[in-house]
Amino acid sequence: MVDTPPTVEIQAARKPRLSGASFIWVIPLLALFVAFGVAWQSYSARGPVIIVGFTDGSGIAAGETKLKYRDIEVGEVEEVSFSEGLAQVDVHIRLHKDIAEYVDASSVFWIVQPEVTAQGVSGLSTVLSGVYIEGSWDNEVGEYADTFKGSDVSPLIKPGESGLQIAFRTTTNGTLTDNAPIMFRGIQVGQVGRAQISRSGAFAITEGLIYEEHRHLISSSTRFWDTSGFSLSVGPTGAEIDFSSLATLIGGGITFDTFVSGGDSASDGEVFEVFSDKEQARNSLFTKSEVDPLRMSIIFDENISGLAVGAAVELSGFRIGSVESLSGIVDFNQFGDSRVRLNVIVSIQPSRLGLPGEATAAAALGLLRDRVTSGLRARLASASLLTGGLKIELVEVEGATADQMLISEVDLPIMPTTKSETSDAAATVEGVFTRINNLPIEELLNSAINVMNSAEVLMSNGDLQKVPGNVSTLLSDISGIVTSEDVKNIPVALNATLVRVEGLVAELEKQRIAETLGKTLSSAAEAADAVTSSAAGVPELIANIQTVAEKAASLEFDTLIQELTSLTSSAEALISSPETAQLPVALSGALDQLNATLKELREGGAVQNVNQTLASARNAADSIAVSARDLPQVIDRLNTLFVQAGQTIEGYNKGDQLSRAAESALRDIQQAAGALEKLARTIERNPNSLLLGR
């Protein structure tokens, strides 16, 4: 057996299909791959397109206008077209993919463009960059939508923003301003949207938003009123101009207040009325209040013309209600006659009485009934002197007759009354008029006329009329005199005389006073004071020298003793010289005389004595000068003596006591000499000092 190997199918080796292909083909393949990759990526990253319809496409351009959310770009306008029937502009916006899912059915879109309003300027950046579309949506994914209706103005309430959403309705004469702020105590707490006229045309209505943080301020009893413009009112309290701020004066605004307590917190969708002013808003509480008013009847005997429906009912000047109706009443059984009385039905607002607890009509009636037993009565009073209008006042009357409030099941409670206030006012006015009437006006006028007549007679008198002519002649005469040469020369002559007198006086002064007095006194003073101080210093000097001498003498040194002795003796000789001895006497005499003279002068003695006195003073001074002439010599000698003494003492430094004593003696003497010199200089410089004692 021959094993034949199994037949093997032989196939021609397959020629690779791309064997001839170059490696270079990788490049276009790569490029293709990249291109597809990029294309796919950009396609997948694309967000959806939404269509927003606007009535007006001002400034919107395809490929340029952006969609912004919270001022960040989140899309771009791809196409702008008209809707079918050209009703609106359809703007196709390509959204960014990341935010696309949030753009749901509740989204709103509006065009942001520059706006200048009374509230301010907005969208200023769009002046140059062009308008953009702002979108707003909440942060929750909601129902899908791709067509929207855009607004030309920004919506008041944007999705995702919370706050109390309420509606406002105007009252009969009220007005509303678009986008007006809602202010409270000067702070903006909300905003009003765009106002619309209601279908019936009777009022305007708008939506309003109270910001979330101020939500609690609004309750169902809150009243809003318009603060735009200003109100001018003239009333019993005077003229009043009222406007809240300049911004609201121009741009309008509404504010609110909660005048009464109670009331539920307001909920979304509630409708509030906007009153034209605060007064109306406040009053509205009585006409439209949740609490039923207390109605009661007041029957007046008096004339009540001037009382009108709506007139105020006041308690202690505080309005608590208003007159509801007026009617006549005849009830013989009740009043005992058939007079027509006027029955006023008033409605009292219980919440205005400040009742504790719940404010109801029954509680108010209970309170009033209690007050009536203690004297509360109703009366008419003037509401306004100008218009003569009346109001009803509830007042406590002192010593009122015991009366009760008539309360019956079937009829309204009846409030007792008291005498009206109005008659008093009328009487006062009447009294004033009577007194004016009684004034003697006619007599006064008669005498006035008489006065006028006599004045006229006097005026028309010929003599009196001549007076002006005479006066003018007189004046011309006077002017002649004044202009005459003689009169003109008067000042010149006077001047010359004065000059002469002045010269004379100057001469006199020069000769008599300056020369005589000055010279005499200076010499006298010089001499006198130099001597005074020297005389004062001399005894001291002597004593000192004596002690020096004594101490020197007690020393055992012979030569010293001898020298000191001779020194002392010469000093003694000097001091005991008759000239020196006489010096003080003469000086004191001269000084006495001088003093006496000065005293006289100072005491305002006779001026004519001055010369005499001066002469004697001069004499005295002369004699003083004679005696004082020797003074320098004395001083010189003293000086030499002390120099000698000083030298001697310096030589004996060992004898401490002596040298110290001698030194002190020398110092004293030097001081004395110094004082003399100083005095002499002072007097030389200022001779008057002697005369005036200064």
């Binding site: 170059s22 270079i24 490049i27 490029a31 140059l128």
Partner: protein, 199 residues
Amino acid sequence: MVACTRCTRAWPLGTPECGRCGAKLVSRDEHSLQKVWALWVVGLMCYVPANVYPMLKTKQLFTVDESTIIGGAFELAHHGAFGIAAIILVASVVIPLGKFWAVAFLAVSVRQRGGFTSHRRLLMYEVVEYIGRWSMIDIFVVAILSALVQLKGLATISPGPAAFFFALSVIFTMLSAQAFDPRMIWDAQDNDNEAPDHG
């Protein structure tokens, strides 16, 4: 004999490398045409985004203006600058398109005889080779503009994505033209000449 394509030195046939400059010596590159076509395709691919995307981004104060090559040229023409518009159109549109056409024509004409003589085709090849680099003038202008106009906030010019693609397109067409072996023109002529003899 085979000539070195780089230094033109002639060597005996079969020599693997040029002894002078070291370049690879081949008589005919069999992949030459494939290279031409591959690079041509890439160049054409790049030329599409180069015309679709903006070439220049001009920022002025608040407005951003993006213009494509053709859009920019038309804008210039609209403002009356016909000369510059014409230059841009010629340099960025006519020349690149002409090059695509010329390279494609040459590559095709190697296989199939066209209506041009071999001399004219060689001339065409040389013109394409020479003129190819001038297309870069566009990129040059963009580079200079974006370097010069950088006034922060007031006006800024920056190159758009088209500039990148345009540059790529020019580069690939140049490479494509270089990959073409002009000797093939003569091969084709030789074939043409021999064919009548044999047949």
